[in-house]
């Protein structure tokens, strides 16, 4: 073990004296993420085009009007030009290629929501356009998600409202009053029949549901459309933004309980989109950079062979495996130092915080996995040139499949299915979880186990193959 540490000490000293590669790979994720954020996160000239969309309201109920109203909100209006239309008008607009598509709210939609039954939104896509219809479809999917969440969230208050109405209807029937009608009418009847105590009870139920769910529901509702695709962890905002959002959420819950309480357009400073894209891209780029760094550091054993120092070490009184593990440990350590500095710079730049123990553990196990994996590749390849070629190919494929270059939700389904077979995927998942959801070690257990398994398995296998290669002088 002493000799392994001697090799580690020597390699750390060498890196300290020639720090170019670690410094380049330390800065790379920040520079590259910044460029991507500049290209795609600009609020000025890089503004996304607006898509024209028709809303066909065949329902006319209160929920349908809420949907229509939501599409007219500031944030949605930034990307969507929403027009009210009848179905024939919408079809004509599509035929003349004036709109990207239409969302049809069929008759009975509000009633179905009200009754807790299956409700349906219909989307008509303009086949003459490529991207616009996708935006319409995404919008409809988001609305469906939002409504489903709201209905689940407010199930208890809705049931209580229905009970109150039923009690009121019963009293009216006994007194010969009106009953029946749609949801809009039922709200009116609730006002008529419920006494103050019942209204207060229902208000408290709504308030409790919103307060409990607000911090989960509201930020995604705000941020999904700004940067992240659904299903991807959402970057945490800065302290100021978070305070604003919390205040808005609290205000909404206190007054109306509306899920549209946080106005995205109002809370978005000039640089927020840049920051959000930057935060979103950074973990993937960091994983990619650490991977490349590990490839370079692992190849150092071949550089030592060319320099003659490897042969001299093999003639020294240490086992070949000690020599290889010493080199691997140096790679893991240098990588861990670079990862720690990345985290520090990230924290200073973005105000992002993570559980330090979990972060260090995740970074170390990731580097162990990467180092072991790269050693295995070099061991299989049987010489430096083939090893470098193989490692580069595998690295690029893993980076692509794992989401380092393109967000996974933008990739086809079969590619997303392959993502968990890459180290990049688990690194991105893990680091985003730690950075943006206040998660601890428990939240990244799967990633830790994957890294440990890959690191130990491929590390021992790679060391054995590499040893054979070095001893044979291949």
């Amino acid at each position: 073990m002493r000799r392994v540490l001697t090799i580690l000490q020597k390699d750390l000293l060498r890196r300290w004296r020639s720090p170019l590669a670690p410094v380049v790979f330390l800065l790379f994720p920040f520079v590259f993420s910044g460029l991507i954020a500049l290209a795609f996160g600009s609020d000025d000239d890089g503004r996304m085009p607006r898509f024209a969309l028709a809303v066909v309201d065949e329902d006319g109920g209160i929920v349908a009007r809420l949907v229509r109203g939501a599409l007219g909100q500031d944030q949605a209006a930034e990307y969507l030009e929403v027009r009210d239309a009848t179905l024939p008008e919408a079809m004509r607009a599509i035929e003349h290629n004036r709109i990207a598509g239409a969302i049809v709210i069929p008759a009975g939609f509000t009633q179905a929501i009200w009754n807790g039954e299956r409700a349906e939104l219909r989307v008509i896509r303009n086949p003459a356009q490529a991207i616009g219809p996708l935006a319409v479809e995404e919008t409809a999917e988001f609305l469906a998600l939002l409504l489903s969440g709201a209905r689940g969230l407010l199930a208890e208050p809705l049931a209580r409202i229905r009970e109150s109405i039923a009690e009121g209807d019963g009293a009216a029937a006994r007194g010969g009053g009106a009953k029946g009608g749609d949801a809009h009418g039922e709200v009116k009847r609730l006002r008529d029949w419920a006494d103050d105590a019942q209204v207060a009870e229902i208000s408290i139920l709504v308030n409790r549901a919103m307060a409990g769910a607000g911090r989960f529901l509201l930020p995604p509702a705000i941020r999904i459309e700004k940067a992240a695709a659904p299903g991807v962890p959402i970057p945490r905002q800065s302290a100021g933004d978070a305070a604003d959002a919390a205040g808005q959420a609290g205000a909404g819950a206190d007054t109306t309980g509306s899920t549209t309480g946080g106005s995205p357009a109002n809370e978005k400073p000039a640089s927020s989109t840049f920051r959000t894209v930057f935060q979103f891209v950074l973990p993937g780029m960091a994983a990619f950079a650490l991977f490349i760094l590990a490839v370079g550091l692992t190849a150092d054993i071949f550089a030592e062979r060319r320099a003659g120092t490897l042969a001299r070490q093999m003639a020294a009184p240490l086992r070949d495996v000690e020599l290889i593990f010493g080199k691997m440990l140096a790679t893991v350590t240098v990588g861990a130092i670079v990862a720690a500095l990345m985290a520090l710079i990230g924290a200073l730049l973005l105000g992002a915080r993570a559980d330090p123990a979990a972060f260090v553990l995740l970074a170390l196990t990731f580097l162990l996995a990467v180092t072991g994996f790269v050693t295995l590749l070099y061991g299989f390849a049987r010489n430096e040139q083939r090893g470098a070629t193989l490692a580069s190919i595998v690295l690029m494929v893993m980076a692509f499949l794992g989401g380092s270059f393109i967000p996974l939700d933008s990739l086809p389904g079969f590619v997303r299915g392959l993502a968990p077979f890459t180290l990049n995927y688990w690194a991105i998942e893990g680091f985003q979880t730690l950075l943006f959801t206040d998660g601890g070690i428990g939240s990244v257990t799967t990633a830790l186990l994957v890294f440990l398994a890959v690191g130990l398995g491929s590390g021992f296998g790679g060391a054995a193959l590499l040893r054979r290669q070095l001893v044979r002088g291949e």
Binding site: I7, Q9, K10, L13, R14, G308, T309, A315, R319, V471
Partner: protein
């Protein structure tokens, strides 16, 4: 004592080392002399444990390399042909690393670093990065690393290749000093003068085999009193053989590329008489050189090639 018995090593079916045996006593400098590709480095690599021999045994003071490679390697130092150094580290840091690998720690390590730096004359440059060193300084540091842990056996593989005469003298003096302290030394070179000046015994190696072995005087006796004539000219095929056909005391060593090497018997003045006969026979000799008995002539006699080949 270093004892190597019937050592063989193959590369892709070719014998790089072919049944070599040698024995070297403590304090003795044993020279392996031969041209590039003779098998010297392969022999050193096998003895140092870098390459596993295909046949044969290697023992140092009765400890077999195959039985306990780590303990065996603990007792040897190697000075490879290339300067196996870390350019980004200082001389002291290089020595500290290699000493650490050899098991030295703390005060003992510091003491040895100071001692070897003194021996090779690099105390003043100890804190400079090695990449700033001249070729000769690197060679001296390369040697110092091999000696850092005071090995029982020091293997030097052409340690003076490509350096200036001053640095060479310094290295040779250092090696002599190490030998005087009782270290067993195996020294490979293709410089005849070095082998003659430095080594108590010399093994002449070519094509993976030791062709002759002994002290310088013993080797000279193998050559005998005869001389080597090198004739240059435009010789027709078979012309030289025909010209010396009647001389029983003359042996044709080699004819190639307009050059013929002839070995004479032990009679004084025989070379001059031979030359006169050849000229009289009409052999188109343009140039001639006559060498007295030395390692070069021995090597020529044994291999038919000059050592620089």
């Amino acid at each position: 004592m270093l004892s190597v018995q019937n050592l063989s090593r193959f590369f892709s079916g070719l014998k790089a080392v072919d049944r070599i045996s040698l024995h070297v006593e403590p304090g003795e400098i044993y020279g392996l002399l031969g041209p590039n590709g003779a098998g010297k480095t392969t022999t050193i690599s096998c003895v140092s444990g870098l390459l596993a021999p295909d046949e044969g045994t290697i023992e140092l003071d009765g400890l077999a390399l195959a039985a306990d490679p780590i303990a065996f390697k603990q007792r040897i130092g190697i000075v490879p042909q290339e300067n196996a150094l870390y350019g980004d580290l200082t001389a002291r840091e290089n020595l500290s690393f290699w000493g650490g690998l050899a098991g030295l720690r703390g005060a003992r390590l510091r003491e040895r670093i100071a001692a070897v730096l003194r021996e090779v004359g690099l105390e003043e440059r100890a804190r400079e990065p090695v990449r700033k060193f001249s070729g000769g300084m690197k060679r001296r540091l390369n040697l110092a690393i091999g000696m850092i842990h005071e090995p029982r056996l020091l293997l030097l593989d052409e340690p003076t290749a490509g350096i200036d005469p001053q640095a060479r003298v310094r290295i040779l003096d250092t090696v002599r000093g190490v030998a005087r302290a009782g270290t067993i030394i195996v020294y490979t070179t293709h410089y005849l003068e070095e082998a003659q000046d430095l080594c108590q015994r010399i093994g002449i190696m070519d094509h993976g085999r030791i062709l002759a072995e002994g002290t310088l005087e013993e080797l000279k006796r193998i050559v005998g009193e005869g001389e080597i004539l090198t004739l240059r000219g435009r010789f027709e095929p078979g012309e030289v053989e025909q010209a010396i056909a009647g001389d029983a005391g003359v042996r044709l060593v080699a004819v190639e590329s307009g050059q013929a090497l002839l070995a004479t018997g032990g009679e004084r003045g025989e070379a001059a008489a031979l030359l006169a006969r050849l000229l009289k026979a009409g052999l188109p000799v343009a140039d001639i050189s006559i060498q007295p008995p030395n390692l070069q002539s021995l090597f020529l006699k044994l291999t038919g090639r000059e050592l620089r080949d």
